[in-house]
């Protein structure tokens, strides 16, 4: 783990640590919380054969949609890709492996890794095709599905505000999977609109303590899709 006093980096440097074939968690539910600047840097650097773990596939032409369209993604572990017709088409052509989980189970698989567990017991999905192929255990008179923890090599997360130790604060619905992924990946690269000196953030307001964050980069609010969305509902 990077020392506290050496976490504040340039975006090129932080993303350069990611090798081809890496498994990468990417925060965001739709556009809010998606680390667009880090994704664009990954696109520019050219890493390929990636496994992405993200709630959704963004939309065509933005965020991880760009990585998918560029053929960089071998496998996507997700909960819903209905807003990205390109991803659906790539899946149907067999060019993109897609593994789908119910959203709450996906969140908990990541949280389970973030807590250092190997998995958890759930009744969600019992009696549906989600449970087929899942290992089960009988306990206290009922059958429970065992959902395994989902770890990753890297996480790319987006925060509203950070300090240079890597403490993070999220805003509104831009939180979503970000704090969970920040705990579950071995190396966590955070982008934030502001990176201030330690002491700038109220201890009670910090959502992700700096212990989980490897590198933090400052990104402009109007960079890339961060401030101007393709989709306005």
């Amino acid at each position: 783990m990077t020392l506290l006093n050496h976490k504040h980096r340039l975006i090129e440097e932080a993303v350069a640590a990611i090798p081809h074939g890496a498994s990468i968690m990417v925060g965001g539910f739709g556009s809010p919380g998606t680390p667009f600047a880090l994704i664009d840097e990954l696109l520019a650097q050219g890493q390929h054969d990636l496994t992405l773990i993200k709630n959704d596939a963004n939309e065509p032409g933005i965020g991880v949609g760009k990585l998918i369209a560029a053929g960089r993604v071998r496998r996507l572990i997700t909960s819903h890709i209905g807003l990205n017709r390109d991803a659906i088409a790539a899946m149907n052509r067999g060019e993109l492996e897609v593994e789908l989980f119910p959203q709450g189970l996906l969140a908990e698989k990541i949280r389970s890794a973030g807590a250092g567990h190997h998995g958890f017991l759930t009744d969600i999905g019992q009696g549906t095709e989600v449970a087929s192929g899942r290992r089960e255990i009988e306990m206290d008179g009922r059958i429970w599905g065992i959902e395994q923890a989902l770890y990753a090599d890297f996480a790319l997360v987006h925060a509203e505000h950070a300090d240079r130790y890597g403490n993070l604060i999220y805003r509104a619905t831009a939180s979503n999977f970000n704090p969970l992924m920040a705990m579950a990946a071995d190396t966590v690269i955070a982008q934030a609109y502001r990176v201030d000196e330690p002491g700038s953030l109220l201890p009670e307001a910090i959502h992700t303590p700096c212990a989980f964050v490897s590198q933090v980069v400052e990104v402009a609010r109007d960079t890339s899709e961060q401030g101007r969305r393709a989709h306005v509902g």
């Binding site: 539910f29 819903h80 119910p102 999905g125 959502h207």
Partner: protein, 217 residues
């Protein structure tokens, strides 16, 4: 929005009690948003991580960090909280959402629901629907009574992959309001101008009707 859809929503609005926590599924149910007045103490939960959302007023600029689970830019009301996806689904799995409204491809007499996958045609992933259907205290389905080819959506048994088993409490369509009971589907209200035999004609499931107690909507 069609007149039928408006009728469904107007009827559905009566299902919400002040003081409740409500989740609105993607599609038609989201529109119920507009039937919950600002002064009503109801907190709308959206599974992407907000409790206490409301539609933006016409003069409000979008907040780029604030969407509902359907992707619409929304606003919050006093008493709102925002949180991560684990917390959001903990709330759902612990049955802290009082009522959820969802669309359906198919519903059946047992209260089984299919609303996420048409094998070979439509399979974008289940999103948050499974946990909501399985765990929310009361699940109300809002859907057209028949599909666009006129085929019934209220079936004896669902044929599509299930979202969850035995999860539906009430079904509100353009033709009727039906409760799932241990004895099968019981018609609560029937649409103005529709006869019971016309309703049965449009439905595959067996319907229990007590004409003395039947409401109109």
């Amino acid at each position: 929005m069609s007149a039928d859809q408006q009728r469904i929503l107007a009827r559905a609005a009566h299902e919400v009690i002040p003081g409740q926590i409500v989740n609105l599924g993607i599609g038609l149910p989201t529109q119920l948003f507009h039937y919950l007045p600002d002064e009503m103490e109801v907190l709308v939960h959206s599974e992407n991580g907000v409790l206490g959302c409301r539609p933006r007023h016409a003069d409000e600029a979008p907040d780029w960090d604030l969407i509902d689970s359907g992707g619409a830019y929304i606003a919050t009301r006093p008493g709102a909280s925002v949180f991560d996806s684990a917390m959001s689904f903990a709330m759902i799995r612990r049955s802290r959402v009082d009522v959820t409204f969802m669309g359906a491809f198919e519903v059946d007499e047992l209260g089984n629901l299919a609303n996420w996958k048409i094998p070979g045609k439509f399979s974008p992933g289940i999103g948050g629907a499974m946990e909501l259907a399985q765990k929310v205290k009361r699940l109300v389905i809002l859907c057209s009574h028949n599909d666009k080819h006129g085929n019934p959506k209220i079936l004896e048994r669902c044929r599509l992959p299930l979202t969850a088993e035995r999860c539906v409490s009430r079904i509100i369509t353009d033709k009727a309001v039906m409760d799932v009971t241990p004895q099968g589907l019981a018609v609560v209200d029937i649409a103005e101008g529709l006869s019971v035999s016309e309703l049965r004609e449009a439905t595959e499931a067996e319907l229990n009707v007590d004409e003395r107690r039947l409401g109109r909507f």
